[in-house]
Protein backbone atom coordinates (compact mmCIF):
# COMPACT_ATOMS: atom_id res chain seq x y z
CA UNK A 1 0.00 0.00 0.00
CA UNK A 2 1.26 3.47 -0.87
CA UNK A 3 0.97 6.40 1.51
CA UNK A 4 -2.12 7.75 -0.28
CA UNK A 5 -3.78 4.32 -0.23
CA UNK A 6 -3.21 4.16 3.51
CA UNK A 7 -4.67 7.64 3.93
CA UNK A 8 -7.84 6.71 2.01
CA UNK A 9 -8.13 3.49 3.98
CA UNK A 10 -7.73 5.37 7.26
CA UNK A 11 -10.19 8.13 6.29
CA UNK A 12 -12.84 5.69 5.08
CA UNK A 13 -12.44 3.57 8.16
CA UNK A 14 -12.59 6.50 10.59
CA UNK A 15 -15.61 8.08 8.82
CA UNK A 16 -17.46 4.79 9.16
CA UNK A 17 -16.45 4.60 12.80
CA UNK A 18 -17.56 8.17 13.57
CA UNK A 19 -20.94 7.64 11.88
CA UNK A 20 -21.56 4.38 13.69
CA UNK A 21 -20.50 5.88 17.02
CA UNK A 22 -22.80 8.90 16.61
CA UNK A 23 -25.80 6.75 15.63
CA UNK A 24 -25.19 4.22 18.39
CA UNK A 25 -24.58 6.97 20.93
CA UNK A 26 -27.83 8.71 19.97
CA UNK A 27 -29.87 5.52 20.00
CA UNK A 28 -28.26 4.41 23.25
CA UNK A 29 -28.99 7.72 24.95
CA UNK A 30 -32.63 7.73 23.87
CA UNK A 31 -33.05 4.07 24.80
CA UNK A 32 -31.46 4.73 28.21
CA UNK A 33 -33.56 7.83 28.95
CA UNK A 34 -36.78 6.59 27.37
CA UNK A 35 -36.43 2.94 28.31
CA UNK A 36 -36.82 3.83 31.98
CA UNK A 37 -40.38 5.02 31.49
CA UNK A 38 -41.42 2.59 28.77
CA UNK A 39 -44.54 0.87 30.08
CA UNK A 40 -48.35 1.10 30.19
CA UNK A 41 -48.20 4.37 32.20
CA UNK A 42 -46.26 6.08 29.39
CA UNK A 43 -48.92 5.19 26.85
CA UNK A 44 -52.13 5.48 28.87
CA UNK A 45 -51.32 7.51 32.03
CA UNK A 46 -53.91 6.69 34.69
CA UNK A 47 -56.44 5.30 32.22
CA UNK A 48 -57.06 1.52 32.04
CA UNK A 49 -55.26 0.01 29.03
CA UNK A 50 -57.94 -1.81 27.01
CA UNK A 51 -60.67 0.82 27.16
CA UNK A 52 -58.00 3.43 26.36
CA UNK A 53 -56.75 1.51 23.29
CA UNK A 54 -60.25 1.24 21.88
CA UNK A 55 -60.97 4.89 22.66
CA UNK A 56 -63.78 4.34 25.20
CA UNK A 57 -61.81 6.19 27.88
CA UNK A 58 -59.91 9.41 27.07
CA UNK A 59 -56.14 9.39 27.73
CA UNK A 60 -54.84 12.58 29.36
CA UNK A 61 -51.28 11.83 30.48
CA UNK A 62 -50.20 9.20 27.93
CA UNK A 63 -48.81 9.21 24.43
CA UNK A 64 -51.19 6.60 22.99
CA UNK A 65 -53.35 9.11 21.03
CA UNK A 66 -50.16 10.65 19.62
CA UNK A 67 -48.90 7.22 18.50
CA UNK A 68 -52.15 6.50 16.70
CA UNK A 69 -52.20 10.02 15.26
CA UNK A 70 -48.68 9.71 13.86
CA UNK A 71 -49.35 6.26 12.43
CA UNK A 72 -52.55 7.39 10.68
CA UNK A 73 -50.84 10.56 9.46
CA UNK A 74 -47.85 8.71 8.00
CA UNK A 75 -50.02 6.09 6.30
CA UNK A 76 -52.30 8.81 4.91
CA UNK A 77 -49.37 10.89 3.59
CA UNK A 78 -47.59 7.83 2.13
CA UNK A 79 -50.69 6.49 0.42
CA UNK A 80 -51.33 9.93 -1.11
CA UNK A 81 -47.73 10.45 -2.20
CA UNK A 82 -46.90 6.94 -3.43
CA UNK A 83 -49.06 6.77 -6.58
CA UNK A 84 -48.08 10.28 -7.67
CA UNK A 85 -44.42 9.69 -6.83
CA UNK A 86 -44.24 6.39 -8.71
CA UNK A 87 -46.04 7.84 -11.72
CA UNK A 88 -43.88 10.94 -11.85
CA UNK A 89 -40.67 8.92 -11.39
CA UNK A 90 -41.63 6.53 -14.20
CA UNK A 91 -42.53 9.48 -16.43
CA UNK A 92 -39.16 11.12 -15.82
CA UNK A 93 -37.19 7.89 -16.29
CA UNK A 94 -38.91 6.46 -19.34
CA UNK A 95 -41.29 8.78 -21.14
CA UNK A 96 -40.08 12.36 -20.64
CA UNK A 97 -37.55 13.80 -23.06
CA UNK A 98 -35.81 17.11 -23.62
CA UNK A 99 -37.38 20.29 -22.27
CA UNK A 100 -40.36 18.63 -20.61
CA UNK A 101 -37.99 16.43 -18.61
CA UNK A 102 -35.79 19.39 -17.68
CA UNK A 103 -38.79 21.45 -16.54
CA UNK A 104 -40.31 18.60 -14.55
CA UNK A 105 -36.92 17.88 -12.91
CA UNK A 106 -36.57 21.55 -11.99
CA UNK A 107 -40.00 21.49 -10.31
CA UNK A 108 -39.12 18.36 -8.33
CA UNK A 109 -35.81 19.88 -7.21
CA UNK A 110 -37.61 23.05 -6.16
CA UNK A 111 -40.14 21.00 -4.20
CA UNK A 112 -37.34 19.00 -2.53
CA UNK A 113 -35.73 22.27 -1.46
CA UNK A 114 -38.91 23.75 0.04
CA UNK A 115 -38.64 24.04 3.85
CA UNK A 116 -41.39 22.21 5.68
CA UNK A 117 -42.55 25.34 7.53
CA UNK A 118 -43.33 26.88 4.13
CA UNK A 119 -45.37 23.80 3.28
CA UNK A 120 -47.23 24.18 6.60
CA UNK A 121 -47.87 27.84 5.90
CA UNK A 122 -49.18 26.90 2.46
CA UNK A 123 -51.64 24.47 4.04
CA UNK A 124 -52.71 27.05 6.60
CA UNK A 125 -53.22 29.71 3.90
CA UNK A 126 -55.23 27.22 1.86
CA UNK A 127 -57.63 26.64 4.78
CA UNK A 128 -58.00 30.41 5.29
CA UNK A 129 -58.77 30.77 1.59
CA UNK A 130 -61.33 27.96 1.72
CA UNK A 131 -63.01 29.50 4.79
CA UNK A 132 -63.40 32.83 3.03
CA UNK A 133 -64.67 31.33 -0.22
CA UNK A 134 -66.25 27.91 -0.77
CA UNK A 135 -66.22 26.14 2.61
CA UNK A 136 -66.88 28.53 5.52
CA UNK A 137 -66.69 25.65 7.99
CA UNK A 138 -63.27 24.38 6.90
CA UNK A 139 -60.66 23.94 9.60
CA UNK A 140 -57.18 22.57 9.95
CA UNK A 141 -57.41 18.78 10.19
CA UNK A 142 -55.77 15.40 9.70
CA UNK A 143 -56.55 15.37 5.97
CA UNK A 144 -54.95 18.78 5.42
CA UNK A 145 -51.83 17.75 7.35
CA UNK A 146 -51.70 14.49 5.38
CA UNK A 147 -51.94 16.32 2.05
CA UNK A 148 -49.23 18.84 3.01
CA UNK A 149 -46.94 16.06 4.26
CA UNK A 150 -47.58 14.08 1.06
CA UNK A 151 -46.40 17.07 -1.00
CA UNK A 152 -43.38 17.35 1.29
CA UNK A 153 -42.29 13.71 0.81
CA UNK A 154 -43.23 13.49 -2.87
CA UNK A 155 -39.71 14.39 -4.17
CA UNK A 156 -38.10 11.53 -2.22
CA UNK A 157 -40.33 8.97 -3.91
CA UNK A 158 -40.06 10.60 -7.35
CA UNK A 159 -36.27 10.72 -7.27
CA UNK A 160 -35.90 7.21 -5.84
CA UNK A 161 -38.21 5.79 -8.51
CA UNK A 162 -36.45 7.69 -11.30
CA UNK A 163 -32.96 6.68 -10.15
CA UNK A 164 -33.95 3.05 -9.60
CA UNK A 165 -35.52 2.77 -13.07
CA UNK A 166 -32.64 4.55 -14.80
CA UNK A 167 -30.20 2.21 -13.05
CA UNK A 168 -31.75 -0.86 -14.74
CA UNK A 169 -29.33 -1.93 -17.53
CA UNK A 170 -30.58 -1.34 -21.08
CA UNK A 171 -31.00 -5.01 -22.02
CA UNK A 172 -33.01 -5.61 -18.83
CA UNK A 173 -35.19 -2.60 -19.66
CA UNK A 174 -35.76 -4.00 -23.14
CA UNK A 175 -37.18 -7.32 -21.85
CA UNK A 176 -40.75 -6.02 -21.93
CA UNK A 177 -40.65 -4.24 -25.31
CA UNK A 178 -38.76 -7.11 -27.01
CA UNK A 179 -41.48 -9.56 -25.94
CA UNK A 180 -44.24 -7.31 -27.19
CA UNK A 181 -45.62 -6.34 -23.77
CA UNK A 182 -47.81 -3.22 -23.68
CA UNK A 183 -46.50 -0.11 -21.93
CA UNK A 184 -48.65 -0.93 -18.90
CA UNK A 185 -47.56 -4.59 -18.77
CA UNK A 186 -43.94 -3.53 -19.18
CA UNK A 187 -44.17 -1.04 -16.30
CA UNK A 188 -46.05 -3.32 -13.92
CA UNK A 189 -44.46 -6.70 -14.70
CA UNK A 190 -40.92 -5.78 -15.72
CA UNK A 191 -39.78 -2.28 -14.77
CA UNK A 192 -41.33 -1.82 -11.30
CA UNK A 193 -40.31 -5.24 -9.91
CA UNK A 194 -36.74 -4.68 -11.11
CA UNK A 195 -36.69 -1.22 -9.53
CA UNK A 196 -38.55 -2.14 -6.33
CA UNK A 197 -35.47 -2.27 -4.11
CA UNK A 198 -34.37 1.24 -5.07
CA UNK A 199 -37.91 2.56 -4.70
CA UNK A 200 -38.09 1.02 -1.22
CA UNK A 201 -35.09 3.15 -0.21
CA UNK A 202 -37.00 6.27 -1.21
CA UNK A 203 -40.16 5.13 0.57
CA UNK A 204 -38.18 4.57 3.78
CA UNK A 205 -36.70 8.07 3.57
CA UNK A 206 -40.15 9.47 2.87
CA UNK A 207 -41.82 7.62 5.75
CA UNK A 208 -39.09 8.76 8.14
CA UNK A 209 -39.52 12.33 6.95
CA UNK A 210 -43.31 12.20 7.33
CA UNK A 211 -43.06 10.67 10.81
CA UNK A 212 -40.65 13.26 12.18
CA UNK A 213 -41.95 16.46 10.64
CA UNK A 214 -43.32 18.95 13.16
CA UNK A 215 -43.40 22.22 11.24
CA UNK A 216 -46.07 21.14 8.77
CA UNK A 217 -48.47 19.63 11.30
CA UNK A 218 -47.97 22.56 13.70
CA UNK A 219 -49.82 24.80 11.24
CA UNK A 220 -52.24 22.28 9.79
CA UNK A 221 -54.16 20.64 12.58
CA UNK A 222 -52.14 19.08 15.38
CA UNK A 223 -53.61 19.81 18.84
CA UNK A 224 -52.26 18.83 22.25
CA UNK A 225 -54.72 16.55 24.06
CA UNK A 226 -56.99 16.14 21.03
CA UNK A 227 -57.29 12.45 21.86
CA UNK A 228 -57.54 9.66 19.30
CA UNK A 229 -58.24 10.96 15.76
CA UNK A 230 -62.03 10.87 15.22
CA UNK A 231 -61.81 11.16 11.44
CA UNK A 232 -59.81 12.75 8.67
CA UNK A 233 -61.62 16.08 9.13
CA UNK A 234 -60.85 16.38 12.84
CA UNK A 235 -57.85 17.46 14.92
CA UNK A 236 -55.21 14.92 16.00
CA UNK A 237 -52.16 14.40 18.18
CA UNK A 238 -48.74 13.39 16.87
CA UNK A 239 -45.54 12.13 18.49
CA UNK A 240 -43.08 14.77 17.15
CA UNK A 241 -45.38 17.54 18.37
CA UNK A 242 -45.74 15.83 21.77
CA UNK A 243 -41.96 15.61 22.03
CA UNK A 244 -41.64 19.24 20.97
CA UNK A 245 -44.01 20.68 23.57
CA UNK A 246 -42.89 18.36 26.36
CA UNK A 247 -39.27 19.35 25.75
CA UNK A 248 -40.11 23.05 25.51
CA UNK A 249 -42.57 23.37 28.38
CA UNK A 250 -41.93 20.56 30.86
CA UNK A 251 -42.80 21.42 34.45
CA UNK A 252 -41.38 18.34 36.13
CA UNK A 253 -38.63 15.82 35.59
CA UNK A 254 -41.21 13.10 34.93
CA UNK A 255 -42.70 15.11 32.06
CA UNK A 256 -39.25 15.35 30.47
CA UNK A 257 -38.88 11.60 30.94
CA UNK A 258 -42.23 11.15 29.15
CA UNK A 259 -40.73 13.22 26.32
CA UNK A 260 -37.80 10.80 26.04
CA UNK A 261 -40.26 7.91 26.16
CA UNK A 262 -42.11 9.48 23.24
CA UNK A 263 -38.79 9.80 21.35
CA UNK A 264 -38.10 6.12 21.83
CA UNK A 265 -41.63 5.24 20.80
CA UNK A 266 -41.29 7.35 17.62
CA UNK A 267 -38.09 5.48 16.74
CA UNK A 268 -39.75 2.13 17.36
CA UNK A 269 -42.76 3.16 15.27
CA UNK A 270 -40.65 4.23 12.29
CA UNK A 271 -38.53 1.08 12.59
CA UNK A 272 -41.73 -0.99 12.45
CA UNK A 273 -42.85 0.96 9.39
CA UNK A 274 -39.49 0.28 7.68
CA UNK A 275 -39.73 -3.41 8.43
CA UNK A 276 -43.23 -3.60 7.00
CA UNK A 277 -42.16 -1.62 3.90
CA UNK A 278 -39.34 -4.10 3.34
CA UNK A 279 -41.74 -6.99 3.87
CA UNK A 280 -44.17 -5.58 1.29
CA UNK A 281 -41.30 -5.04 -1.19
CA UNK A 282 -40.13 -8.64 -0.81
CA UNK A 283 -43.67 -9.85 -1.35
CA UNK A 284 -43.89 -7.77 -4.51
CA UNK A 285 -40.52 -9.06 -5.72
CA UNK A 286 -41.40 -12.69 -5.11
CA UNK A 287 -45.05 -12.95 -5.96
CA UNK A 288 -45.62 -10.01 -8.27
CA UNK A 289 -46.64 -12.25 -11.12
Amino acid sequence: MTGKDRLIYFLAWSCALVTTTVVCGLLGFIAWQGGAVLGPALFFGDAPAWPAISGQVPVWDGIWPACVGTLVLVLLAASLALPFGLGCGLYLAILAKGRKKAFCSLCINQLAGTPSIVMGLFGFAMILFLRRTFVPGANTCLLLAGVCLAVLILPYIVRATQNAVEAIPLTQRLIGPSLGLTLWQNMVYSILPQASRGILGGVILAVGRAAEDTAVILLTGVVANAGLPRGVLGPFEALPFTIYYLAAEYRSQSELQTGFGACLELLILTALLFVSARWIQRKIENTWY
Binding site: K97, P169, T171, Q172, L174, I175, P177, S178, L179, G180, L181, T182, Q185, Y189, S190, P193, Q194, E285, N286, W288, Y289
Partner: protein
Protein backbone atom coordinates in the same frame (compact mmCIF):
# COMPACT_ATOMS: atom_id res chain seq x y z
CA UNK B 1 -43.18 -26.72 -39.63
CA UNK B 2 -39.99 -27.47 -41.56
CA UNK B 3 -38.57 -25.01 -44.04
CA UNK B 4 -37.36 -27.08 -46.96
CA UNK B 5 -37.02 -24.69 -49.84
CA UNK B 6 -35.04 -21.47 -49.65
CA UNK B 7 -37.65 -18.78 -49.50
CA UNK B 8 -36.84 -15.12 -48.98
CA UNK B 9 -38.10 -13.75 -45.64
CA UNK B 10 -36.33 -10.40 -45.38
CA UNK B 11 -35.77 -7.56 -47.76
CA UNK B 12 -34.46 -4.09 -46.93
CA UNK B 13 -33.97 -1.18 -49.30
CA UNK B 14 -31.97 1.97 -48.53
CA UNK B 15 -32.34 1.41 -44.82
CA UNK B 16 -30.92 4.34 -42.88
CA UNK B 17 -31.01 4.59 -39.09
CA UNK B 18 -29.80 7.52 -37.03
CA UNK B 19 -29.65 8.30 -33.33
CA UNK B 20 -29.81 12.02 -32.56
CA UNK B 21 -28.15 13.09 -35.82
CA UNK B 22 -25.54 10.30 -35.81
CA UNK B 23 -26.00 7.92 -38.74
CA UNK B 24 -25.52 4.29 -37.67
CA UNK B 25 -26.92 2.49 -40.72
CA UNK B 26 -26.37 4.13 -44.07
CA UNK B 27 -28.44 2.86 -47.00
CA UNK B 28 -28.47 -0.88 -46.29
CA UNK B 29 -30.11 -2.98 -48.99
CA UNK B 30 -30.12 -6.74 -48.58
CA UNK B 31 -32.29 -9.81 -48.96
CA UNK B 32 -32.10 -13.02 -46.94
CA UNK B 33 -33.56 -16.52 -47.34
CA UNK B 34 -35.10 -18.84 -44.77
CA UNK B 35 -33.96 -22.42 -44.34
CA UNK B 36 -30.61 -21.82 -42.68
CA UNK B 37 -28.81 -19.32 -40.49
CA UNK B 38 -27.99 -15.89 -41.89
CA UNK B 39 -24.99 -14.36 -40.12
CA UNK B 40 -24.23 -10.67 -39.75
CA UNK B 41 -20.57 -9.93 -39.17
CA UNK B 42 -18.43 -6.84 -38.74
CA UNK B 43 -16.35 -4.90 -36.30
CA UNK B 44 -17.81 -3.32 -33.14
CA UNK B 45 -19.87 -0.28 -34.05
CA UNK B 46 -20.39 -1.37 -37.66
CA UNK B 47 -24.18 -1.40 -37.26
CA UNK B 48 -24.97 -5.14 -36.94
CA UNK B 49 -26.95 -4.85 -33.72
CA UNK B 50 -28.77 -1.74 -34.90
CA UNK B 51 -29.73 -3.60 -38.08
CA UNK B 52 -31.06 -6.50 -36.03
CA UNK B 53 -33.05 -4.17 -33.78
CA UNK B 54 -34.60 -2.52 -36.84
CA UNK B 55 -36.35 -5.78 -37.66
CA UNK B 56 -38.47 -5.71 -34.49
CA UNK B 57 -38.44 -1.91 -34.32
CA UNK B 58 -36.67 -2.03 -30.95
CA UNK B 59 -34.57 0.97 -32.01
CA UNK B 60 -37.76 3.01 -31.63
CA UNK B 61 -37.45 2.54 -27.86
CA UNK B 62 -34.15 4.40 -27.97
CA UNK B 63 -35.38 7.29 -30.09
CA UNK B 64 -33.99 6.17 -33.46
CA UNK B 65 -35.02 7.76 -36.74
CA UNK B 66 -35.47 5.04 -39.37
CA UNK B 67 -35.84 5.62 -43.13
CA UNK B 68 -36.06 3.33 -46.14
CA UNK B 69 -38.07 0.13 -46.36
CA UNK B 70 -37.99 -3.16 -44.48
CA UNK B 71 -40.20 -6.04 -45.56
CA UNK B 72 -40.63 -9.25 -43.61
CA UNK B 73 -42.48 -12.35 -44.81
CA UNK B 74 -44.94 -13.19 -42.04
CA UNK B 75 -48.37 -14.87 -41.96
CA UNK B 76 -47.95 -15.81 -45.62
CA UNK B 77 -47.46 -12.29 -46.93
CA UNK B 78 -44.91 -9.49 -47.09
CA UNK B 79 -45.31 -6.83 -44.41
CA UNK B 80 -43.73 -3.40 -44.58
CA UNK B 81 -42.81 -3.06 -40.92
CA UNK B 82 -41.82 0.61 -41.16
CA UNK B 83 -45.37 1.54 -42.21
CA UNK B 84 -46.82 4.07 -39.76
CA UNK B 85 -49.75 1.87 -38.76
CA UNK B 86 -47.64 -1.19 -37.92
CA UNK B 87 -48.83 -2.96 -34.77
CA UNK B 88 -45.53 -2.93 -32.84
CA UNK B 89 -46.68 -5.32 -30.10
CA UNK B 90 -47.74 -7.92 -32.66
CA UNK B 91 -44.52 -7.41 -34.66
CA UNK B 92 -42.33 -7.94 -31.60
CA UNK B 93 -44.20 -11.09 -30.62
CA UNK B 94 -43.72 -12.50 -34.13
CA UNK B 95 -40.09 -11.43 -34.44
CA UNK B 96 -38.44 -12.93 -31.36
CA UNK B 97 -35.14 -11.61 -30.08
CA UNK B 98 -32.36 -12.99 -27.87
CA UNK B 99 -29.77 -10.55 -26.53
CA UNK B 100 -26.02 -10.72 -26.15
CA UNK B 101 -26.18 -11.24 -22.38
CA UNK B 102 -29.01 -13.28 -20.87
CA UNK B 103 -31.66 -10.85 -19.65
CA UNK B 104 -33.99 -12.72 -17.33
CA UNK B 105 -36.30 -11.37 -14.67
CA UNK B 106 -35.17 -12.03 -11.07
CA UNK B 107 -38.01 -14.54 -10.54
CA UNK B 108 -38.38 -18.29 -10.93
CA UNK B 109 -37.48 -20.24 -14.06
CA UNK B 110 -41.13 -21.05 -14.75
CA UNK B 111 -42.35 -17.49 -14.27
CA UNK B 112 -39.80 -16.16 -16.75
CA UNK B 113 -41.62 -18.11 -19.45
CA UNK B 114 -45.17 -18.21 -18.10
CA UNK B 115 -45.70 -14.52 -17.32
CA UNK B 116 -44.88 -13.01 -20.73
CA UNK B 117 -46.74 -15.91 -22.34
CA UNK B 118 -49.86 -15.37 -20.25
CA UNK B 119 -49.75 -11.60 -20.77
CA UNK B 120 -49.35 -11.75 -24.52
CA UNK B 121 -51.33 -14.85 -25.50
CA UNK B 122 -54.30 -14.89 -23.16
CA UNK B 123 -53.96 -18.70 -22.90
CA UNK B 124 -55.19 -20.59 -19.83
CA UNK B 125 -52.94 -21.92 -17.10
CA UNK B 126 -52.86 -25.47 -18.43
CA UNK B 127 -52.10 -24.45 -21.99
CA UNK B 128 -49.33 -22.12 -20.79
CA UNK B 129 -47.75 -24.96 -18.80
CA UNK B 130 -47.93 -27.25 -21.84
CA UNK B 131 -46.31 -24.58 -24.01
CA UNK B 132 -43.58 -24.09 -21.39
CA UNK B 133 -42.85 -27.82 -21.43
CA UNK B 134 -42.65 -27.77 -25.22
CA UNK B 135 -40.22 -24.85 -25.47
CA UNK B 136 -38.01 -26.17 -22.67
CA UNK B 137 -37.78 -29.44 -24.61
CA UNK B 138 -37.02 -27.51 -27.78
CA UNK B 139 -34.14 -25.68 -26.09
CA UNK B 140 -32.90 -28.91 -24.44
CA UNK B 141 -33.50 -27.47 -20.97
CA UNK B 142 -36.30 -29.70 -19.76
CA UNK B 143 -34.04 -32.47 -18.47
CA UNK B 144 -31.95 -29.94 -16.57
CA UNK B 145 -34.65 -27.78 -14.99
CA UNK B 146 -37.87 -29.82 -14.84
CA UNK B 147 -37.26 -30.68 -11.18
CA UNK B 148 -36.55 -27.08 -10.13
CA UNK B 149 -38.89 -24.87 -12.12
CA UNK B 150 -39.68 -22.79 -9.04
CA UNK B 151 -36.07 -21.91 -8.30
CA UNK B 152 -34.69 -18.47 -9.24
CA UNK B 153 -33.76 -18.24 -12.92
CA UNK B 154 -30.58 -16.40 -11.98
CA UNK B 155 -29.30 -19.55 -10.24
CA UNK B 156 -28.85 -21.19 -13.67
CA UNK B 157 -25.50 -21.23 -15.46
CA UNK B 158 -24.82 -18.66 -18.20
CA UNK B 159 -25.51 -21.13 -21.00
CA UNK B 160 -28.72 -22.33 -19.36
CA UNK B 161 -29.84 -18.73 -18.85
CA UNK B 162 -29.28 -17.99 -22.53
CA UNK B 163 -31.25 -21.09 -23.52
CA UNK B 164 -34.02 -19.97 -21.14
CA UNK B 165 -34.08 -16.59 -22.92
CA UNK B 166 -34.45 -18.49 -26.20
CA UNK B 167 -37.23 -20.61 -24.68
CA UNK B 168 -39.04 -17.50 -23.41
CA UNK B 169 -38.92 -16.10 -26.90
CA UNK B 170 -40.01 -19.38 -28.59
CA UNK B 171 -42.98 -19.64 -26.19
CA UNK B 172 -44.59 -16.67 -27.94
CA UNK B 173 -44.47 -18.70 -31.20
CA UNK B 174 -42.43 -16.26 -33.24
CA UNK B 175 -42.13 -16.57 -37.02
CA UNK B 176 -38.63 -15.10 -37.26
CA UNK B 177 -35.75 -15.30 -34.77
CA UNK B 178 -33.10 -12.62 -34.18
CA UNK B 179 -30.03 -13.44 -32.08
CA UNK B 180 -27.53 -10.79 -31.09
CA UNK B 181 -24.16 -12.48 -30.42
CA UNK B 182 -25.91 -15.20 -28.41
CA UNK B 183 -22.67 -16.91 -27.38
CA UNK B 184 -20.59 -13.80 -26.62
CA UNK B 185 -20.98 -14.06 -22.85
CA UNK B 186 -20.50 -17.85 -22.70
CA UNK B 187 -17.55 -20.21 -22.46
CA UNK B 188 -16.52 -22.43 -25.38
CA UNK B 189 -18.56 -25.46 -24.38
CA UNK B 190 -21.77 -23.60 -23.56
CA UNK B 191 -21.33 -21.60 -26.77
CA UNK B 192 -21.04 -24.77 -28.89
CA UNK B 193 -24.18 -26.13 -27.27
CA UNK B 194 -26.12 -22.99 -28.27
CA UNK B 195 -24.70 -23.24 -31.79
CA UNK B 196 -25.97 -26.82 -32.17
CA UNK B 197 -29.34 -25.70 -30.92
CA UNK B 198 -29.45 -22.84 -33.43
CA UNK B 199 -28.57 -25.13 -36.35
CA UNK B 200 -31.42 -27.38 -35.26
CA UNK B 201 -33.90 -24.51 -34.82
CA UNK B 202 -32.94 -22.95 -38.17
CA UNK B 203 -34.74 -25.84 -39.82
CA UNK B 204 -38.01 -24.45 -38.46
CA UNK B 205 -37.41 -20.71 -38.15
CA UNK B 206 -35.92 -18.07 -40.45
CA UNK B 207 -32.99 -16.86 -38.36
CA UNK B 208 -30.56 -13.94 -38.28
CA UNK B 209 -27.53 -14.22 -36.01
CA UNK B 210 -25.10 -11.43 -35.26
CA UNK B 211 -21.67 -12.95 -34.69
CA UNK B 212 -18.29 -11.58 -33.75
CA UNK B 213 -16.42 -14.66 -34.87
CA UNK B 214 -15.64 -15.75 -38.47
CA UNK B 215 -15.08 -19.30 -37.16
CA UNK B 216 -18.58 -19.36 -35.74
CA UNK B 217 -20.02 -18.00 -38.98
CA UNK B 218 -18.21 -20.77 -40.87
CA UNK B 219 -19.87 -23.36 -38.66
CA UNK B 220 -23.34 -21.82 -38.72
CA UNK B 221 -24.08 -19.72 -41.73
CA UNK B 222 -25.71 -20.52 -45.03
CA UNK B 223 -25.33 -16.85 -45.95
CA UNK B 224 -23.36 -13.97 -44.44
CA UNK B 225 -23.37 -10.21 -44.64
CA UNK B 226 -20.36 -8.20 -43.56
CA UNK B 227 -21.02 -4.72 -42.17
CA UNK B 228 -18.62 -1.82 -42.05
CA UNK B 229 -19.40 1.76 -40.99
CA UNK B 230 -23.14 1.23 -41.32
CA UNK B 231 -23.01 -0.32 -44.79
CA UNK B 232 -23.10 -3.89 -46.10
CA UNK B 233 -19.72 -4.33 -47.78
CA UNK B 234 -19.77 -8.06 -48.59
CA UNK B 235 -22.42 -10.67 -49.26
CA UNK B 236 -21.34 -14.29 -49.13
CA UNK B 237 -23.21 -17.53 -49.75
CA UNK B 238 -22.58 -20.98 -48.28
CA UNK B 239 -19.96 -21.97 -50.85
CA UNK B 240 -17.76 -18.94 -50.19
CA UNK B 241 -18.05 -18.72 -46.39
CA UNK B 242 -14.59 -19.57 -45.08
CA UNK B 243 -12.97 -18.32 -41.92
CA UNK B 244 -10.02 -16.68 -43.68
CA UNK B 245 -12.08 -14.99 -46.35
CA UNK B 246 -14.44 -13.66 -43.66
CA UNK B 247 -11.50 -12.33 -41.67
CA UNK B 248 -10.24 -10.53 -44.75
CA UNK B 249 -13.72 -9.13 -45.39
CA UNK B 250 -13.99 -7.83 -41.83
CA UNK B 251 -10.54 -6.27 -41.74
CA UNK B 252 -11.16 -4.76 -45.16
CA UNK B 253 -8.31 -6.45 -47.04
CA UNK B 254 -10.60 -8.55 -49.27
CA UNK B 255 -11.54 -7.27 -52.71
Amino acid sequence: MVLKTKKPFLETKDLTVGFGGQVVLDGVSLAADAGGIVCLLGRSGSGKTTFLRTLNRLNDEMGAVTKGSVNLFMDGRWCNILAPRTDLLNLRRKVGMVFQTPNLMPVSIAKNILVPLRLTSGLGKKQCRARMHKVLEQTQLWQEVSHRLDEPALSLSGGQQQRLCLARCLALEPQILLLDEPTASLDFKAGRRIEELLIHLAKSYPMLVVSHSPAQAERLAQAAFVFDSGKVVHKLDKSSIHRHLLEECITGSAK
